[in-house]
């Protein structure tokens, strides 16, 4: 079965979710572009969007329409060629409308998992629950006569466990998109012990057509991205605890969030990133990883405490930020949740006090200006040279943070999760939009 034939019948499980809808979008575009080739005229292409609720699936169709419109506007030059044979489509907007229709018509929304019984391949982006995944994979595999391939978006469960649990004999691969899949360039590719070579070859071709950057990751819980991120969270939380000797809890959270963003020149502070992903999701990933790690327990009491009080973070369906560790106004943190009093304390109440405590900050470049700058390396070298000798509490915290991040990166290589430094850095640069990789010589 060729690449194009396999993409004639596909199912996405969890299609209404944050990751699932993005995977659905990208796959729909890829399938539509194939179906519009002259040699594929008349061939049916089917993409099942499977999820548990009709309400959520209704939202997905709106999301698809809006996103396909944006993508069509961007690739209009090529689309005019695709529809050159259609004499009735003249203006760009007529072609765009037709393209949206052609993409959307591939997609069948359904709440019935049985739809996947006819698919040649299945993308899975459901909850990070190994038992649930295994049970669904087994069922589909048993009832589907085509020996379907499974592409799982898990960010933490070893693929070999899923392969063995569901008896797939290597018809599975980890294809881990970053959030949001339509925007993020990175895909972590994780082979199970027995993943079939043709499955991997397909995954590579598919990623290439989607213009993704592929980083291979070994089948160790958490892979590279979460392997770094989760340990980063644990470190920052431990530092908050240390700081609580001198500062109140909310002050300490503010300090670490500031250090991890401004001092480290990252796109957002560690606690904002936790909210972006979801406090619940982070906590869950840690517990899944812990089950599969032999010598390490990932456990964050700070997050557990917040979760127990119903503080979750995450995003609204329009992509805006829900309140979590921090409270947001127009996407910017304005207050911090205090589990002691169960209220959000405005940052302005203590900001100047903590800033003073952190001391004079070396003139750090803004992440936004550095990240795409041609002279990025020189700018960062200059900054870190200043940071190296700066004598303030903030600089000290920042230096320790950078060293720790470096250690986590090296640990990922030593434990065999990543092949090399470059792969670790690529994941953090493209998946987390860091301006520089954790493994560096700046300090």
């Amino acid at each position: 079965m060729s690449y194009e034939e396999r993409l004639q019948h596909v199912s996405v499980l969890g299609a209404a979710g944050k990751m699932g809808s993005g995977i659905l979008l990208l796959t729909a575009i890829e399938m539509a572009d194939i179906s519009l080739k002259p040699e594929n005229k008349g061939k049916p292409f089917v993409l099942n969007a499977i999820d548990v609720s009709d309400e959520a699936l209704a939202g997905v169709m709106k999301y698809l329409k809006a996103q396909v419109l944006k993508m069509a506007e961007k690739k209009m030059v090529g689309l005019r060629k695709v529809y050159a044979h259609r004499a009735d489509l003249i203006d760009n907007d007529e072609i765009i409308d037709q393209y949206i229709f052609d993409v959307i018509s591939l997609v069948r929304t359904t709440t019935r998992m049985e739809a996947a019984y006819d698919s040649y391949m299945v993308f899975e982006a459901i909850k990070e629950d190994p038992e649930m995944k295994i049970s669904i994979f087994s069922k589909i595999s048993a009832n589907n006569p085509h020996q379907p391939w499974f592409f799982t978006n898990t960010s933490s469960i070893p693929i070999t466990k899923l392969d063995e649990g569901a008896g797939l004999n290597g018809r599975i691969i980890g294809f881990h998109f970053y959030n949001p899949p339509a925007v993020q360039k990175l895909v972590e590719l994780i082979k199970a012990e027995h993943t079939l070579p043709e499955v991997e070859a397909f995954a590579q071709a598919y990623a290439k057509n989607l213009r993704k950057v592929v980083v291979p990751s070994h089948d160790v819980a958490g892979f590279i991205g979460n392997g770094h991120f989760m340990r980063d969270i644990l470190y920052a939380s431990a530092e908050v605890e240390n700081l609580c000797r001198d500062l109140s809890y909310v002050e300490a959270v503010y300090a670490m969030n500031k250090v991890s963003q401004d001092y480290l020149v990252r796109p957002m502070g560690i606690f904002q990133l936790i909210d972006y992903v979801g406090v619940d999701v982070c906590s869950f990933i840690m517990s899944v990883m812990t089950r599969h790690l032999k010598e390490e327990t990932l456990h964050c009491p700070l997050l557990d405490n917040l979760l127990a009080q119903g503080v979750k973070g995450g995003q609204f369906s329009d992509g805006s930020q829900k309140d979590g560790v921090l409270k947001y106004e127009k996407g910017r943190p304005v207050a911090i949740y205090d589990p002691g009093t169960k209220v959000y304390v405005p940052i302005s109440d203590f900001q100047s006090k903590v800033d003073q405590k952190l001391g004079d900050m070396p003139p750090a470049p803004a992440w936004k200006t550095v990240v795409g700058h041609k002279a990025k390396h020189e700018i960062l070298t200059d900054y870190f040279t200043l940071l190296k000798t700066a004598e303030s509490m903030g600089a000290e915290l920042a230096r320790a943070y950078v060293v720790r991040s470096n250690t986590i990166g090296l640990q990922l290589i030593n434990s065999g999760v990543a092949l090399n430094e470059n792969d670790v850095n690529t994941v953090m640069l493209t998946g987390f939009f860091h301006a520089y990789g954790p493994i560096n010589k700046y300090l």
């Binding site: 506007e73 961007k74 690739k75 209009m76 030059v77 090529g78 689309l79 005019r80 004499a87 003249i90 203006d91 760009n92 907007d93 765009i96």
Partner: protein, 411 residues
């Protein structure tokens, strides 16, 4: 000419769009009627009010699609109640619309049906994204060519012209000259507060404009810096007789006199015989100079139709400032700059000031009025005594509709 014709009391709104700090595509902006009213009132205020106006002309290219609005002449009473029940007309000729509006006003004065004509040119284009804007503007070409045309239709047309020019006369130097054209446009726009690129602070403009064109996402031979802007804007001016000047109480020294013009059309259904040349422009300028009885050596400044940098370059050859194939040298030698032989597009032109399509021809006249009467502010260039004439070239479509006018300061 049977009587003298003057232009006075020019007014430009901001050219609004990307580049202006005030521009936010996600926020509500003034509509078509606000631009018409601001420009119209701007001129009325200078000429003693609506009671002095005999006739009105409004130039607009494509409000029917950009704003879903037609019947624009009926906006004159909205500009000022005093214009109710007065004759008004709307004219259209793609991007030469403004020039045609001026010609309509000139002819009313010559026909002695009016002593004072209020002329407004307007376009409000940021109602849609550029990719749809391209469809609307494609109306300036033959509709039967649209299907086979580029997604960005007119950039596609002029990219093809650039390609032909590169092939004939060399690519590298021509690209450099196009980049210099961009730099001159932006540097001039910085001196004009209403210009769309007034806020531009880029240091190395030529390096920026040398960005390699990308045919996959745009067109083969042009980058975005080679293109004029998508603009919202309006310009107004009054066209008057000697009698009209007196009525408005404006001294002749604050006026420019229309000395001659070339107004002509080429067949919209035919491709250019030589894509590396603007032959219709050439003919229009020839007629304008002949009817004014002057030579191009006597021109002190010119406002020309640089909808694309390559069009600007080819226009230098069409006017005859440069020999055929030598347009790039002429630009690179600095002759088009503010201190060059003949300063071109002194407030930025279509690339720097902006290109609200139906308004551009009127904006050109306003700039010439300001320059020849010494009222161009920071953008003022020196007009040598021996070369007192101003020239405009306003082009509609791909070198199809042309209006070229010769002016001098009123005496």
């Amino acid at each position: 000419m049977r009587r003298k014709v003057y232009m006075i009391a020019g007014y430009n709104t901001l050219s609004m769009g990307t580049g202006r700090k005030e521009f936010n595509p996600k926020k509500d902006r003034p509509g078509l009627e606000e631009y018409i009213r601001e420009a119209g009132q701007g001129t009325l205020k200078q000429i003693g009010g609506a009671q002095n106006v005999d006739e009105c002309v409004i130039g607009n290219f494509m409000a029917s699609r950009f704003n879903r609005q037609a019947n624009l002449a009926a906006f004159f009473p909205y500009v000022d109640d005093g214009l109710r029940y007065k004759p008004a007309i709307r004219v259209e000729g793609a991007c030469a619309t403004g020039g045609l509006a001026l010609m309509s006003g000139i002819k009313s004065v010559l026909a002695e049906t009016a002593e004072v004509v209020l002329v407004i040119g307007v376009e409000v284009q940021n109602t849609v994204k550029a990719i749809y804007c391209a469809d609307y503007l494609a109306g300036a070409g033959w509709f039967k060519n649209r299907k086979a045309g580029h997604a960005y239709f007119f950039p596609g047309q002029f990219s093809d012209r650039a390609g032909s020019y590169f092939e004939k006369y060399g690519r590298e130097k021509t690209r450099q000259a196009m980049a210099r054209w961009f730099r001159n446009a932006i540097e001039n726009a910085r001196l004009c507060p209403t210009a769309q690129e007034h806020h531009n602070t880029v240091k190395d403009l030529e390096a920026l404009a040398m960005m390699e064109p990308n045919g996959k996402s745009f067109v083969d031979h042009l980058n975005v810096f080679d293109c004029s802007k998508v603009s919202d804007g309006a310009s107004a001016i009054a066209i008057v007789s000697e009698e009209g000047l007196k009525r408005c109480g404006i001294p002749v020294s604050d006026a420019i006199e229309v000395l001659g013009w070339g107004q002509l059309e080429e067949d919209i259904t035919k491709p250019p015989s030589d894509p590396a040349e603007l032959s219709t422009t050439k003919e229009a300028v020839k007629q304008a100079l002949a009817s004014a009885g002057i030579t191009r050596e006597e021109i002190g400044t010119a406002e020309i139709h640089d909808c694309f940098s390559i069009a600007g370059l080819m226009c230098m050859e069409a006017i005859g400032f440069a020999e055929k194939g030598k347009g790039a040298d002429y630009i690179l030698e600095g002759h088009t700059g503010r201190t060059g032989r003949v300063p071109i597009n002194t407030t930025g032109g279509l690339i720097g000031w902006g290109h609200p399509t139906g308004g551009t021809g009127v904006h050109q006249a306003v700039t010439i009025l300001e320059q020849l009467t010494g009222k161009a502010g920071d953008a003022q260039v020196e007009i040598p005594a021996g070369r007192p004439y101003g020239l405009t070239v306003n082009m509609g479509g791909d070198d199809k509709s042309l209006v070229s006018i010769v002016y001098k300061k009123g005496q």
